[in-house]
Assembly symmetry: C2
Homo-oligomer: 353 residues x 2
């Protein structure tokens, strides 16, 4: 039996040029390629796209999918779709003024970032970076099991140490997902500071405290968060409003056994101040996924030189599942903005421009 397969070439009257700053992988590119109305221009290499390539190709484009590292403008654009939850790399005022749509990828990365935040808290408290380094350098033999070798503060409560206060700078989705993961570790208090303009949420906080059987969930000023927290998570947006919110003054208020975790943006932390805090023992340790000026972070960087600073290279959302979801969301945002339909996640630009 033989079959004749007839393929009808669809006629598309209007085509929209779309620039895609990185290949989004075999699961997601077909979403874009399946739209005959879109004329795709995809950065062909396995590295961040050249700015010159981008500026050349953005001319006449209706939409662009960008990564964290890409900055773009173009007069023909209808939509900027960023594969990230943060959009501090986008000139939001300019986007708003020109009436563009801005898509982003919140929610889908919440769990991956919360997972990594827990990992960094544990690594920093348990001297994990030092432990790994000792083994990698073949020095384990110099450190046989000793009663107090490699000891650090314990994340979990114990009978003799029954209180753990967890603090957050920024208390959005990711912070709350991190809090949820810490509950079985026996934490007892949650403190957070938020954007001063955000409305008080004491009812929500009381519900969280009850749900997780905590002694309290409380919004306080940032100094109190610093003073009281056993582990302090920075999970707030980047940008000028939060620049160096963790500085020497704040770090000096923290406890000598406390841990700092930053899985948001490097600009929130003054790296020199954090290095000094670790060197001089103002705090116990730090676990950071982001560093101001990344990826230009050399072996001479003050934080790289601190043994009690565990640094991973901006991988908080780097799971196979989450990045596929983020890429899908970025493609869907772009398609909806150009071809019509509801964008799955659009930044509300009222109040800008």
């Amino acid at each position: 039996m033989s079959m004749l397969l007839l393929v009808r070439k669809e006629t598309v009257s209007t085509r929209y040029k779309v620039v895609v700053c990185r290949d989004l992988g075999p699961d997601v590119m077909p979403l874009l390629r399946g739209k005959p109305e879109l004329e795709l221009v995809v950065w062909p290499e396995d590295r961040a796209c050249d700015r010159r390539w981008l500026l050349e190709n953005i001319h006449g484009a209706a939409g662009v999918i960008v990564m964290l590292t890409d900055k773009v403008s173009g007069s023909s654009l209808q939509v900027v779709s960023t594969m990230s939850v943060g959009y501090e790399h986008v000139d939001v005022n300019a986007v708003a003024k020109r009436g563009l749509k801005l898509g982003y990828t919140p929610d889908v990365l919440t769990d991956a970032v919360a997972d990594l935040s827990v990992m960094l808290a544990l690594m920093a408290g348990r001297n994990g970076g030092i432990g790994i380094s000792v083994v990698q350098k073949g020095q384990w033999t110099e450190y046989p099991w000793a009663p107090f070798g490699f000891c650090g503060p314990q994340l979990s409560t114990t009978a003799a140490s029954p209180t753990r206060k967890i603090g957050f700078i920024g208390f959005g989705r990711i912070a709350q997902a991190t809090l949820a993961r810490l509950v079985p570790f026996g934490i007892t208090h949650c403190l957070y500071s938020s954007n001063p303009s955000s409305a008080p949420s004491s009812e929500r906080d009381a519900q969280l405290a009850q749900k997780y059987n905590l002694q309290s969930v409380k919004r306080v000023d940032i100094d109190e968060v610093a003073r009281e927290s056993d582990v302090l998570f920075i999970l707030a947006p980047g940008g000028s409003g939060t620049y160096h919110v963790v500085n020497e003054t704040l770090l000096r208020k923290m406890k000598p056994t406390s841990i700092l975790v930053n899985a948001s943006r490097g600009t929130l932390v003054d790296s020199d101040a954090l290095a000094k805090a670790l060197r001089e023992g103002w705090i116990w340790g730090a676990g950071i996924d982001v560093v101001e000026g990344e990826p230009q972070v050399s072996v001479d960087h003050p934080l790289v030189k601190e043994p009690k600073c565990v640094i991973v290279p901006h991988i908080a959302s780097a799971t196979l599942e989450t990045r596929r979801d983020m890429a899908t969301r970025a493609a869907q945002n772009l398609i909806a903005a150009i071809l019509g339909g509801q964008m799955p996640a659009q930044v509300d630009l009222r109040g800008f421009a």
Copy 2:
């Protein structure tokens, strides 16, 4: 006003020599020093005690406090008190035959080891060892943020990937504490294999499933644990009964995206087989706190050479809080065994010797 302080020197008729193989720190040594009946002989250095020193001093001793690395025998002994939950370094048959008491330190280290098990699972899944190494070597600049850079399997479930099966080889206190910590990550199934002689616990398992809202908690054969688990935790005792229970045959049954965590004893895992499994991609990654033959683990060790193997130097119980509790327990066990009273944690030696 002046006071005359009279100190009565107590007369102690019988004194018991006690050998302490490591200084137990300023919080715990006073417990022992406060007993005038005990004549303490304490290894004076900040390293594992010499075997020769131990054998010289054990002569005539009524009790000894040992670490994991100490092996001891002595004809005058009434008690061996080990500062560890495992006692595979103690010749239990000989201890039982001679009617000695054996003290150990279970329970107090459960939470510290569970914390570290979660840390190792996250580190192994999220390519944490590779990430740290990239930063430490100043190579971050070669790895700007990329859609799928550093991606690994996600511990937490996602909408598109809603199932996570967690397996345990050994399902005692530490495994169950680890399970509890993983619940908010969205895990759905728990599988475990236990010592064949232990009684079935299907009622307990049903209660756990209900408590944690899991689809199932189920005892199965070890092959099924290997086949099904997304993360496989080895949390079983060491010794000959579990020697190389994780071998090539078992590792070949695991999924290519699966994670192996060993926070029990190095002898349970065939290091060569695990290195091969990582090198050839039978599994995704491993996080291990213990290595057979430790601390003799050089840079040429097959596991040290595997980038996807995260190794820390036997620090699972190494927190300030827990080690203090373990040392306290070890001192209390010894004191009770010699001076009378209930030992807080005595190994049941019926069935041995």
